[in-house]
């Protein structure tokens, strides 16, 4: 098994994949926070 190649692929995938995830979560999360605070001011806890 070519361990060196495997770890190279893992490292590149991690750095690129995480950078993409961070961008998605920043924009999506900001919207979610507004919704969460709005939900918490409602009188009851509903599913």
């Amino acid at each position: 098994m070519n361990w060196e190649l495997l770890w190279k692929v893992v490292l590149i995938f991690t750095l690129c994949g995480y950078a993409l995830l961070v961008i998605i979560v920043i924009f999506g999360g900001a919207r979610n926070i507004v919704d969460m605070l709005r939900d918490l001011t409602k009188p009851t806890d509903q599913d």
Binding site: M1, F13, G17, L21, V22, I24, D35, D45
Partner: protein, 505 residues
């Protein structure tokens, strides 16, 4: 080159001080949103997907995570990456199947032992709560110590009193805002820290790789065995096949049932979001392992090329290997950015600490104190007990962190103490959800079996020529196996009475 030489300057101190005040301010502001216990513990079950990903990452990517993974990279090289791969695949599998987390969210519980009561009765809940709190609090026992070592390494503060000083200041900061804001402030801070820390980690990685060079990163230093640098199951890598098996069992069970992580799934707005959360977060679970390991690997390559540093990490009075990564980062990152990284790491320390403090204190309140009391505890009473527990656990952490040293490595300590709870919990919850014959006796045996893992943090697990049956990995695997067999044999030999009677009818 001075071992503790650093680029950390006054401007970096200012960045850190300003940054760490923000969570406290958020804690004060969001206090008005805390009206009932579920708001405090599970943020009113109002988390949507992206904020849930940020907060799960914020919790599971703490300073201690960075420290123990960097230490693994520093000590074992690229072969350490296997832990990240295993964990990522386990989290992805949970996310795609919804194994355990989907059903638990459907049940609308706030802690794992609540499920024990629902399925196996109150006594099992109390036993499970005690073991969970014990394992969990021991597990975070070295968080403060590791955090303080990072700050010492980065700031270049080598005075022996530094450990106590940093530990005390960090503890006070985290206690203030966790006690005040509960889960709502935790969620908001996790989001902010997710952004700062993630960007800092990606840029920090670029600095580390450019310093060492992409080619040197994949060439084993001359002072280590080339095969063990790459291959986790090779002889001499410090891991081996048994360790890999332990990691599979441990990371899968921790992924599904580690209280602080599961708390995010239980806080999700719907069971479907709880499931999606895990699938998406598999990428951040990979990053939380691989990126700090990369820093540790770069640190080792750097140390191996610098004779004075190398001598500081070798010999009888050598520096703890946890210092490797922060000392390296302190030398390669420019002032200003170093302050931002330190602030982000400090914030990560707080975001992990607050979640864990909240998790274990809510378990003590909900699963030990409340079930033991005859009359029903009011929400106000529960909140007060939870807050008192947070302070008490904090004090324990300070004392434990000052005198206890991880026998093998920080991660091995975390793995074994995690097993105290996970071996029993994983068996009990899985059997409780998916096996009709699971009984109270089987559940109790499985939970008690988890206590065997305490043997894995004894002084006999360290040093050369340790017999395999005394190694922490063997003790860890056996604890899971005994808990699993205990559940099956106990349930078959001692089925629950009501079920037996129903069978007779």
């Amino acid at each position: 080159m001075d071992v503790f030489a650093t680029n950390f300057r006054t401007v970096d101190w200012i960045i850190v001080c300003v940054y760490i005040c923000i969570p406290v301010v958020i804690g004060i502001i969001v206090k008005k949103y805390i009206r009932q216990l579920s708001d405090f513990i599970v943020a009113g079950r109002s988390l949507k997907l992206f904020i849930a990903i940020a907060t799960l990452t914020g919790t599971e990517l703490g300073l201690v995570t960075v420290m123990y993974n960097a230490e693994l990279g520093f000590k074992h090289g690229l072969s350490a990456f296997h832990v990240g791969i295993i964990e990522t695949l386990c989290i992805l599998a949970i996310g795609l199947t919804g194994f355990i987390v989907y059903k638990l969210r459907q049940l609308r519980i706030m802690t794992i032992p609540e499920f024990y009561e629902m399925r196996f009765g109150r006594n099992v809940r109390i036993v499970g709560g005690i073991i969970l709190a014990l394992g969990g609090i021991l597990n975070m026992g070295l968080f403060l110590q590791a955090g303080a070592r990072f700050m010492m390494g980065v700031t270049g503060y080598s005075n022996p009193a530094g450990l106590k000083l940093f530990m005390s200041v960090m503890l006070i900061m985290v206690l203030i805002y966790t006690v005040m804001g509960g889960m709502v402030s935790v969620v908001l801070n996790d989001f902010m820290q997710f952004i700062v820390l993630s960007i800092g980690m990606l840029i920090g990685s670029a600095f580390a790789i450019s310093k060492i060079g992409w080619g040197n990163l994949f060439a084993a230093p001359s002072i280590v065995d080339s095969a063990s640098w790459f291959n986790p199951v090779s002889e001499g890598s410090g891991f081996g096949t048994l360790y890999v098996i332990f990691m599979v069992v441990l990371t899968f069970s921790a992924g599904a049932l580690w209280q602080s992580g599961t708390l995010r799934a239980l806080s999700a707005k719907t069971p479907k979001i709880a499931k999606q959360l895990y699938a998406w977060s598999s990428v951040s679970y990979l990053a939380r392992r691989v990126i700090p390991m990369l820093w540790g690997i770069c640190a080792f390559v750097f140390v191996s090329q610098t004779p004075k540093l190398l001598s500081a990490f070798q010999g009888p009075d050598s520096l703890n290997s946890q210092f490797g990564m922060p000392i390296f980062m302190a030398k390669i990152l420019p002032s200003g950015f170093l302050g931002l990284i330190a602030a982000g790491m400090f914030a990560a320390f707080m975001s992990t600490h607050d979640s864990y403090l909240l998790s274990w204190s809510s378990v003590i309140t909900q699963d030990i104190v409340a079930p033991l009391k005859k009359e029903r505890l009011s929400d106000k009473g529960r909140l007060l007990i939870t807050r008192i527990c947070i302070v008490c656990i904090g004090l324990f952490l300070l004392i434990w962190g000052l005198w206890f040293e991880a026998p093998v490595s920080l991660w091995n300590y975390m793995a074994v103490t995690g097993t105290i709870y996970l071996a029993g919990a994983f068996t009990v919850v899985t059997a409780g959800l998916y096996w009709k014959k699971a009984s109270k006796t089987g559940a109790k045996i499985a939970l008690y079996a988890g206590l065997l893992a305490i043997l894995g943090i004894g002084p006999w697990t360290t040093g050369e020529n340790v017999p395999f049956y005394l190694t922490d990995k063997f003790i860890g695997v056996m604890t899971f196996l005994i808990a699993f067999l205990g559940m099956i044999i106990g349930s078959l030999l001692f089925p629950d009475k009501s079920k037996t009677e129903e069978g007779k009818k």
